[in-house]
């Protein structure tokens, strides 16, 4: 099975998303009940994410340029494949936006329930901190990125 430069660069993106989900998301999962200001080592994690991303992509794309010396030009088929995968990504982003809005609405409803019933246990079970919001957004971004890139790769192989 031969693999082109474009397909390899998509695989690099997928690998990065998976590694990001496995390495950095557990930290946000563990701290999802805290507020951002109370998270231990948040700045360190953000710096780690930025530096590791820059190094990873710089190294990978440098190796890619060395291995695939010939420049691959973009053509109409690439544009079609890109637009199809971006369309899927856009739909998933829209869907996740609805999920987040729905979640926030449920929080407001729980506040109302607290006012009506005074049930603190029910209210606390649905509390959402800003750490939780960050975790939710990062999970969705990683998930959407993996799905979109996988579909992009699939289209390159089959179209």
């Amino acid at each position: 099975m031969t693999i082109s430069k474009k397909e390899t660069s998509i695989l690099i993106e997928i690998f990065y998303s998976v590694v990001f989900a496995l390495v950095f998301l557990p930290y946000f999962y563990e701290n999802q009940n805290k507020n951002l200001i109370l998270m231990d080592g948040l700045i360190d994690i953000i710096i780690q994410i930025i530096i590791s991303s820059v190094i990873y992509f710089a190294v990978c794309y440098s190796i890619l340029e060395i291995v695939f010396k010939r420049k691959e030009s973009r053509d109409e088929r690439d544009n079609m494949i890109d637009s199809k995968s971006y369309k899927l990504g856009y739909l998933l982003y829209e869907l996740s936006l609805f999920i987040i809005i729905g979640y926030f609405c449920s929080q407001l409803q729980n506040k109302e329930l607290l006012n009506l019933t005074g049930n603190h246990e029910l209210y606390n079970s649905f509390q959402l901190t800003d750490g939780g919001i960050v975790f939710l957004i990062l999970v969705l971004l990683a998930f959407i990125s993996i799905i979109k890139s996988s579909y992009h790769f699939y289209l390159h192989r089959t179209n």
Partner: protein, 65 residues
């Protein structure tokens, strides 16, 4: 009705490789492979460029079946 083509036969008759034809019309080898396998339907502009390069009429190169 499926849009088919006899690009492979015509290209081979003209003694061109997929890579060479792709370079002439400004697309990648993968695009030529996809067209020959009926996976990708080229735009009118690309179809006309290919037909012109292969000295054939577009309707002889691409047809419905």
């Amino acid at each position: 009705m499926i849009l088919k083509n006899n690009l492979k036969e015509v290209r081979q008759k003209n003694g061109l490789t997929q890579e060479e034809l792709g370079n002439y019309v400004g697309v990648s080898r993968q695009t030529i492979i996809s067209i020959e396998r009926y996976r990708y339907k080229p735009t009118l502009e690309l179809a006309m460029k290919i037909a012109a390069k292969l000295n054939t009429k577009i309707e002889k190169l691409f047809f419905f079946e």
